[in-house]
């Protein structure tokens, strides 16, 4: 993958997730950050830090992004969410406006 097509998402513990830009844009918040002309620092470095989202949640979010792209292109599978993750995952999803 070329560097311009990727975005780096950093969790609270400092874990870095490098994902495809299209996947990241599933989140309206990230989309706004990356496309706004207002000059967010994130646009420049293509890195977004989430000090409030923990690593396992951020990992699940990234999985959700890719699943969402697959679903939109026709491949209809189910996305499983472990019950323990539910609350934190929903809060993170709300924050990211997905």
């Amino acid at each position: 993958m070329k560097k311009e097509d990727t975005v780096k998402l950093i969790s609270a513990e400092g874990f870095e997730f490098i994902i495809d830009k299209n996947a990241a844009m599933v989140s309206q918040t990230i989309r706004n950050m990356l496309t706004s002309p207002g000059g967010f620092a994130e646009t420049e470095h293509r890195e977004v830090t989430f000090p409030e989202i923990s690593t396992p949640i951020l990992e699940k979010i990234c999985q959700y992004f890719y699943w969402s792209l697959q679903y939109a292109s026709g491949k209809e599978t189910e996305f499983y969410i472990e019950p323990e993750l539910t609350l934190e995952l929903m809060m993170a999803a709300n924050y990211l406006h997905t």
Binding site: P37, G38, Y64, S68, Y71, A72, E76, E78, F79, I81, P83, T86, L87, L89, M90, M91, A93, N94, Y95, H97, T98
Partner: protein, 608 residues
């Protein structure tokens, strides 16, 4: 006297027609048509509106309709809608204008006659338009939405035969200039014209139309028409002196065009602009010339500064509604000018204008006493003091929307609650500082509240909902999705205190259990929609108690609930005869349930 039919023997035709005129829904009209032959004839005679989606052999269909309903004045053809065949009892997707009558299509017999290929003939052609023109000579409103086979020739026949045309909607049709010229020449009473997404039109067409019937034109909409430029707008400015509403979305229009409209159309009341190349100069002119302006909506105005808003504030004293979306350079100064000048302001929406902060909103609170609706989206700089001024000054506030306003907290909501006693709709999302205190104040003070939505406010707890349950008996719509501190007590309080509840969203609430659902069943019999997704502790038992009492339920979303099984789903389907949508995982639907109500069930959706 038993067995006598009084209605048909005593009432004359005119009275029955008068009664039919009061029927609003399609189902009522259909029911009347089935009573007897006389009523069938009269109902057909009185029907004034028909709506068609994309249909097989549309030309023949139009013919049939023209013969059957001779007095139709409004024809709406929307080819985004798919056909609903009588065999597969599917639902129509897009239902606007529900108060007007609908027409169900029974063209199975027509289909066998039509020789044309199936795929082509779904779109109405020029011949079909000619049939419309021939059949409905009293046509007043014609709407052709995304009719891709309609061209200028068809439009010309409509123009020539339907001289009383008042409203024409050509959204998404690729018609050419000649059609528009013909309309301009023939339809001298045209008042409404919608040209959104008509990519085939150029200046020639619109200029000729303005020359022809510009005098009566009141409503004009243009969007994504690359070849319509300032020239057209100058013609509009010169000839359409009665224009009241203009909706313009174009990259190709510059200041010159908007200036011409501002100068020429002094009766302009509603203006909606999305034109990136237009700057202060044009909007200042609007402020100077359009003193009757009542509503202004500006989208993505990258190049506007406060100067424009100051001019608007000075000149448009009758302004009632202002919508500013993504106007990056507008700041408090501009908003203050509007506040000072437009005391009639009733509706204000500020979306994504990052430089507007507390001070601007404070001035609105101080000066605009008539404010009824306030919406603040992505306003990270607006703080509590702003809303406290609004609370003090805007006693008639009915609706407040706060999305992504991260520094607004309890004090703000408290001030609004104590000051705006008429509050009816409150919607808060992603404002993390709001907690129970603010919502308790709302419960204690705003007894007319009908809609409350506080999504993902994780500092709000049960006490808040108890207060709402006690103080807001007219509550109809409640959404507390993601407020995970809320549990059974809160929902039970709502169930006991708000009998008119019709929409409830308690998704993602981890502490919610069956007992609460049972209480909702007891207390809210009018419930129509419920969202239970991600509620870990809800099981079939609670669901059962709920649906046994809430018989009017129309939609139920319950994905990701491990406690709900096939049996629960089956109970929902069998108890609620009005059910229109059930969202559940595929694995939880048994064969039998699938057979019984397959069309109503949707499977796992894409959203979290």
């Amino acid at each position: 006297m038993k067995g006598h039919d009084f209605i048909n023997s005593m009432l004359p035709d005119e009275l029955i027609l008068e009664i039919f005129r009061n029927l609003e829904s399609k189902s009522s009209r259909d029911a009347c048509s089935l009573v007897c032959r006389r009523w069938l004839t009269l109902e057909r005679f009185s029907r004034d509106t028909i709506r068609i989606g994309a249909s097989g052999s549309p030309d023949a269909l139009v013919d049939l309709l023209a013969r059957r309903f001779p007095n139709v004045t409004n024809v709406y053809i929307d080819e985004r809608l798919s056909v609903s065949l009588p065999v597969d009892f599917g639902r129509r997707r897009n239902a606007s204008h529900s108060s007007l009558s609908w027409l169900r299509l029974h063209f199975v017999s027509e289909r066998s006659e039509a020789g044309a290929s199936e795929s082509d003939s779904y779109c109405i052609s020029d011949a079909g338009l000619t049939a419309v023109a021939d059949g409905f000579s009293n046509l007043e409103k014609l709407s052709l939405i995304w009719c891709s086979n309609a061209t200028s020739a068809g439009l010309r026949s409509v123009a020539e035969k339907c001289r009383f045309l008042k409203s024409l909607d050509l959204q998404g049709c690729y018609v050419g200039d000649q059609g528009l010229v013909a309309i301009g020449k023939c339809c001298r009473q045209l008042e409404v014209l919608n040209l959104r997404f008509c990519e085939g039109l150029t200046d020639t067409g619109l200029v000729e139309l303005a020359l022809g019937c510009g005098k009566t034109l009141k409503w004009l909409g243009v969007a994504a028409c690359a070849k319509i430029t300032d020239t057209s707008l100058e013609a509009v400015g010169s000839h359409c002196s009665s224009l009241e509403t203009l909706s313009l979305d174009s990259e190709f229009v510059q200041n010159k065009g908007v200036l011409a409209v501002a100068k020429g159309c002094s009766l302009l009341r509603n203006l909606s602009l999305q034109c990136i190349n237009v700057t202060d100069e044009a909007l200042t002119a609007v402020g100077v010339f359009c003193s009757s302006l009542e509503s202004l909506a500006l989208f993505s105005f990258q190049r506007f500064t406060d100067k424009s808003l100051c001019a608007i504030g000075k000149g448009c004293k009758k302004l009632k509604s202002l919508m500013l979306s993504d106007c990056y350079f507008l700041s408090d100064k501009g908003l203050e000018a509007v506040a000072a000048g437009c005391s009639e302001l009733a509706h204000l929406e500020v979306n994504g204008c990052h430089n507007i902060g507390t001070y601007g909103l404070e001035s609105i609170g101080r000066s605009c006493m008539r404010l009824k609706e306030l919406a603040l989206l992505y306003c990270q700089k607006v703080g509590d003091e702003a809303l406290s001024e609004v609370g003090k000054g805007c006693k008639y506030l009915e609706a407040l929307h706060l999305v992504d306003c991260s520094i607004i907290g309890d004090d703000a909501i408290y001030s609004i609650a104590t000051g705006c006693r008429n509050l009816k709709r409150l919607h808060i999302r992603r404002c993390y500082e709001v907690g129970s205190k603010g919502i308790i104040a709302v419960g204690s003070n705003c007894k007319y509240l009908t809609d409350l939505s506080i999504r993902f406010c994780d500092r709000v707890g049960d006490e808040a909902l108890v207060a709402i349950g006690q103080g807001c008996p007219f509550l109809r719509h409640l959404n507390v999705s993601g407020c995970h501190q809320i549990g059974d007590n809160g929902i039970i309080a709502i169930a006991r205190g708000c009998p008119q509840l019709s929409y409830l969203d308690v998704s993602v609430l981890q502490n919610l259990r069956d007992m609460a659902l049972a209480e909702v069943g007891e207390g809210c019999p009018l419930l129509k929609d419920i969202v239970l997704s991600h509620c870990r502790q809800i099981t079939d038992v609670g669901l059962d108690r709920l649906v046994k009492r809430c018989r009017l339920l129309e939609s139920c979303h319950m994905v990701y609930c491990p406690g709900i099984t096939t049996a629960g789903v089956a109970t929902v389907i069998s108890s609620c005869t009005n059910m229109k949508k059930v969202l559940i995982e595929k694995a939880k639907v048994s064969e039998r349930t699938q057979r019984r109500a397959g069309s109503v069930i949707s499977y796992l959706c894409v959203d979290l």
